[in-house]
């Protein structure tokens, strides 16, 4: 009973506060702040305020994508594309237009929708097959080129580096050597068909250390990034909404 009363009071007070702020600070920004705090409240614990914000978020964002995909892909790409192709071929008699290929996309898309009809739903597998096949084919080359080959090419360099004075730069040389060693041992760590024991295991060990240093570096950067976002949010609450900064 008491809890219920308390809950009502809390809600009432909350509404009052937001109402006042909406009047003073503007409705739009207050609405933004309302949801901002709603999400933050999850940090304390799962609660109705968060559940509400979450529900709104899911609905709004799903709808957002639904609308975007409809106008951008369904209308602008497919419908307008076919229309343009029709013009070139049948109105201007300019022959084939690549945009006719969109029809194939439309067909594959329809196959997807056929899942709604269990009898012929298996046709959707054909669309999936195209997607998966094309993705496999594209990645097969592209990732390997940018992340395999070119990285290999970048490592290949003489170990020793020189200072402007032309003297041997010991530190630079050592670093370069470490770079090569680290990369190689890292690759060794991923080696599947040999137990990580003996000398081989030792190299693999160095490999995992290198990876750990890498992860550490990423972590450091990520902390930086995440904190920036929080700063941005706080700036929104304290500055943009409540106007407390300057």
């Amino acid at each position: 009973m008491n809890n219920r009363v308390l809950a009502y009071i809390v809600v009432a007070v909350g509404i009052a506060v937001f109402a006042i702020l909406a009047a003073t600070q503007g409705f739009a920004v207050t609405m933004g702040a309302f949801f901002t705090i709603g999400i933050f409240s999850f940090l304390y614990k799962d609660n109705p305020y968060y559940k509400f914000s979450e529900a709104v978020f899911v609905g709004i964002s799903a709808g957002y994508w639904f609308v975007s995909l409809f106008w951008q892909n369904m209308v602008s790409k497919l419908y307008m594309g076919i229309q343009a192709a029709y013009n070139t071929t049948f109105v201007e008699h300019a022959g084939w237009d690549d945009r006719w290929m969109m029809l194939l996309g439309g067909l594959l898309g329809l196959f997807m929708l056929l899942r709604l009809f269990p009898k012929i739903g298996w046709l959707s597998r054909w669309s999936l097959a195209v997607i998966v096949g094309a993705t496999a084919g594209l990645y097969f080359i592209n990732y390997f080129v940018s992340n395999g080959i070119i990285q290999l090419g970048a490592i290949i360099a003489p170990l020793q580096s020189f200072t402007e004075a032309g003297k041997l730069d010991w530190w630079g040389t050592i670093s370069q050597a470490l770079l090569v060693a680290g990369t190689l041992s890292g690759v060794v760590y991923f080696y599947f068909s040999k137990e990580h024991t003996g000398a081989f295991g030792g190299v693999a060990k160095i490999g995992i250390w290198t990876l750990m240093l890498t992860f550490g570096a990423s972590f450091g950067y990520t902390v930086m990034s995440r904190m920036s976002l929080l700063i941005g949010r706080m700036d929104y609450l304290v500055g943009t909404w409540l106007g407390l900064i300057r």
């Binding site: 999400i39 979450e54 998966v132 993705t135 290999l152 290949i156």
Partner: protein
């Protein structure tokens, strides 16, 4: 200016005029002007010689390469010549308009603004401050497309070798050859994790990343889901797969359904195992967090392409004391999975997982093939580095050249 230089310039000038006489009348006019103006004004530089143009090889057919030999006045250390203008027209008579400019010492230019099946005529002008002189008009040239890009031959070879290695081991494995594979901790733990969920009577949460099916990591995640779902079906435990892409939802359902079928439990399958939430990264995470704190899954799998949400999930998962097995090829997210999850599949291990879990010879064979790829990679790193280093230490020309050849082999990848 020395007398010789002066005479030389006049000579060039005359020859230039002679050449121009053959080419466009307009050019003749201004060169004559220079001529009458005589040696008082800046003398015209010698035109480039042996100018030629041909269709650029290995391309889509929208470019022509113009090449020439340096103007006699374009000598290192002299700043008399400022560069070369490349002019193009569709008839020998012109009008010629500039399509590009090459700096001093350059002997070719690729005009990447041509149309197919059109005749083009080029001439190249040597530029000197205030004066210029043109080569004769050359052409007609057409740009055409080729059926193979020879710049990528090396790529084709390297990929070919690795593929053959993988194929070889796939088929040797098929023929029953035993293959050793080291243990991968994260995958050893899968059964235990599922068992735990069964004992506790809590669901298992599987997140196949937040990318769509056009990302190979998602495909890898889904294939693993297929393996895991089979075990889950046998243990008869609850599976929940919230996804953030409709196509992934479709694929995941197909996969899980088949898994239950092959586990002999088609009756136990329901489409509700897999449900779509929203495409929006953080809307999705908000929902998944909600699911975690309310359904309290005993085991969470995060296998696929992850971004910022990785840590939100991993930390929430930890706060509900779930066993967490993660895997991704997103280096930025690995540290958090490594720190917050019980087991993490790092990069390549994610792609190996499905093969590893399948325990099917051909799949395992492909892993062996990958290892061959690694050996090749290591050799290709180590040898050239050593060679180059020695070359640099002892000043061995051939060593340096050999090393650089290999390096350029890797660098020479562009369209």
């Amino acid at each position: 200016m020395t007398l010789i230089r002066r005479l030389y310039c006049i000579l060039c000038l005359v020859s230039g005029v002679a050449l121009l006489a053959a080419s466009s009348p307009a050019q003749e006019a201004d060169s004559v002007l220079i001529d009458t103006a005589g040696v008082e004004v800046t003398p015209a530089p010698a035109p480039p010689v042996n100018v030629g143009a041909r269709d650029t090889p290995s391309d889509e057919g929208y470019s022509i390469t113009v090449f020439w030999e340096l103007s006699a006045d374009d000598r290192p250390g002299e700043d008399f010549v400022t560069g070369y203008r490349i002019l193009r027209a569709e008839t020998p008579e012109g009008p010629f308009r500039e399509v590009g400019f090459s700096s001093v010492g350059a002997t070719s230019y690729t005009d990447a603004s041509t149309e197919k099946k059109t005749d083009y005529y080029y001439r190249v002008e040597t530029q000197a401050d205030g004066a210029s002189s043109s080569s004769p008009v050359i052409g007609p040239v057409q740009s055409t497309a080729q059926w193979f890009n020879f710049n990528l031959l090396n790529l084709l070879i390297i990929e070919g070798i690795i593929c053959l290695a993988i194929l070889y081991f796939i088929y040797s494995a098929k023929s029953g050859k035993k293959l050793f594979l080291r243990k991968i901790a994260g995958l050893e733990a899968v059964d235990e994790a599922i068992g735990r969920a069964t004992e506790m009577g809590r669901p298992i949460l599987f997140i196949p990343g937040i990318q769509d099916m056009d990302d190979v990591q998602t495909i890898a995640g889904i294939t693993i889901l297929g393996r895991i779902a089979k075990t889950i079906a046998q243990y008869d435990c609850r599976l929940h797969v919230p996804v953030s892409r409709s196509i992934v939802m479709t694929t995941a359902r197909e996969t899980v359904k088949e898994a239950y079928l092959s586990a002999g439990r088609p009756d136990a399958y329901s489409d509700d195992f897999v449900n779509y939430v929203t495409d929006e990264q953080f809307g999705y995470v908000a929902a998944v967090d909600g699911i975690m704190v309310r359904e309290k899954p005993a085991t969470c799998f995060y296998l696929g392409a992850f971004f910022a949400e990785s840590l939100i999930m991993a930390e929430t998962g930890h706060s509900i004391k779930a066993i967490q097995i993660a895997g991704t090829a997103m280096p930025a997210q690995l540290p958090f999975f490594v720190a917050a999850c019980d087991y993490t599949l790092i990069g390549e291990e994610l792609f190996a997982a499905s093969a590893y879990l399948s325990n099917e010879p051909r799949q395992l064979g492909s892993l062996k093939g990958q290892d061959v790829g690694k050996v090749i990679a290591m050799v290709f790193i180590l040898l050239p580095v050593i060679v180059l280093t020695l070359g640099a230490i002892f000043g061995w020309e051939f060593a340096t050249r050999a090393g650089e050849f290999v390096r350029d082999w890797f660098r020479l990848i562009q369209m």
